[in-house]
Symmetry: C2
Subunit: 207 residues, 2 copies
């Protein structure tokens, strides 16, 4: 039985970007399959009384996050981070597109959205930006926009967010294993993959 | 010139415990000197409107922290974590004692306070617990209690907390280098030590 890990990410989240850049190589090496699940942090933050990102609500925390992202980008060999304006970006359309895309297209689409946002400062709510990304990964922008606006896509994204919350997720990125083990943060990616790899999951009735 | 790192810790903080257990071996290996600086998170949290630990204010975050601490203790070969009641503990007296102790006594005292709290569930506001720890590390409890209550000790701890806040610290553990680089969290300990080790600090007027 193939080991699997669910990667919960929010397009506006800086540390989700780092995991989106790192997860595939680590997962392949460990023989773990990754399910990319975009969701929205906004409703989860709102449920605990937050009207914005904690990086805006708590300025010292925000200052250190941006500095830390500079350091992490340098360590990982990524381009220097550019702060999008506004931060956080409105990620609804990007998340709907990712939800509607076939699973294999989600990683390249998602990485490209992160790079546009965090290395070029592009607006990820801008349809022209998203269309250029879809074009670049070989998708059909008009089909993708239509699928993004379909009622079942909107429902699926709402359900993903609800499921994230019911799994105990309160930030992004987060990782959940088949048994429900929850890891929060890019700093836990290696441990999450290691946990998924070593999980013993017997088919029902096997013992 | 000896490289140095300041270790800012709060006695009630679970992740500060992990750094207190790990920092000395890592620092020795890197040739970095560590200054142990206890401070109080309470006033810093209060300044941003928090009346308790974020792990209490945000229950999903708290649940995952306790689960994560179980995992981290297992990984590090530490005894299983025990949740002190109440959490967070009142850490004022322990922090005052640590402030008054000679620098060389701070690490063993601090580690023992963390172990009493997080592996035995002891109250660290209890003078009998603190007296037993002082006894065990070869300190004189009555002298330590007297020094802890001295006006200059109370002032020094207040100043440590003020300085932490002015350095941009918003959580514990945190680490600052001689040049003012700030790292937050036990997960950044290795990077903080690496940064301190590689910092070029020339004496004034050297170039």
């Amino acid at each position: 039985m193939k080991r699997s890990l669910t990667f919960w990410y929010e397009f506006a989240s800086t540390y989700s970007w780092l995991s989106a850049e790192r997860i595939e190589a680590l997962a392949v090496q460990a023989g773990v399959e990754v399910a990319w699940r975009p969701f929205l942090l906004g409703p989860i933050f709102a449920a605990q009384g937050w009207t914005s990102s904690p990086f805006n609500l708590f300025p010292a925390k925000g200052r250190n996050m941006w500095r830390d992202m500079e350091r992490q980008c340098a360590r990982l060999g990524l381009p220097p981070i550019v702060r999008p304006d506004p931060f956080p970006q409105n990620s609804l359309l990007a998340a709907r597109i990712a939800t509607a895309l076939p699973p294999a297209a989600r990683p390249p689409f998602s990485r490209a959205v992160y790079r546009a946002q965090f290395t070029q400062g592009c607006s990820i709510a801008d349809r022209a930006v998203l269309a250029a990304i879809l074009d670049d990964i070989g998708g059909a922008p008009s089909d993708a926009f239509a699928a993004a606006e379909a009622a079942e896509t909107k429902d699926a994204l709402r359900q993903a967010t609800d499921q994230a919350q019911s799994l105990g997720i309160y930030g992004a990125p987060s990782f959940t294993t088949a048994s429900g083990e929850l890891f929060w943060g890019n700093d836990r990616l290696e441990q999450a993959i290691g946990w998924a790899k070593n999980e013993t999951i017997l088919p029902a009735g096997a013992c």
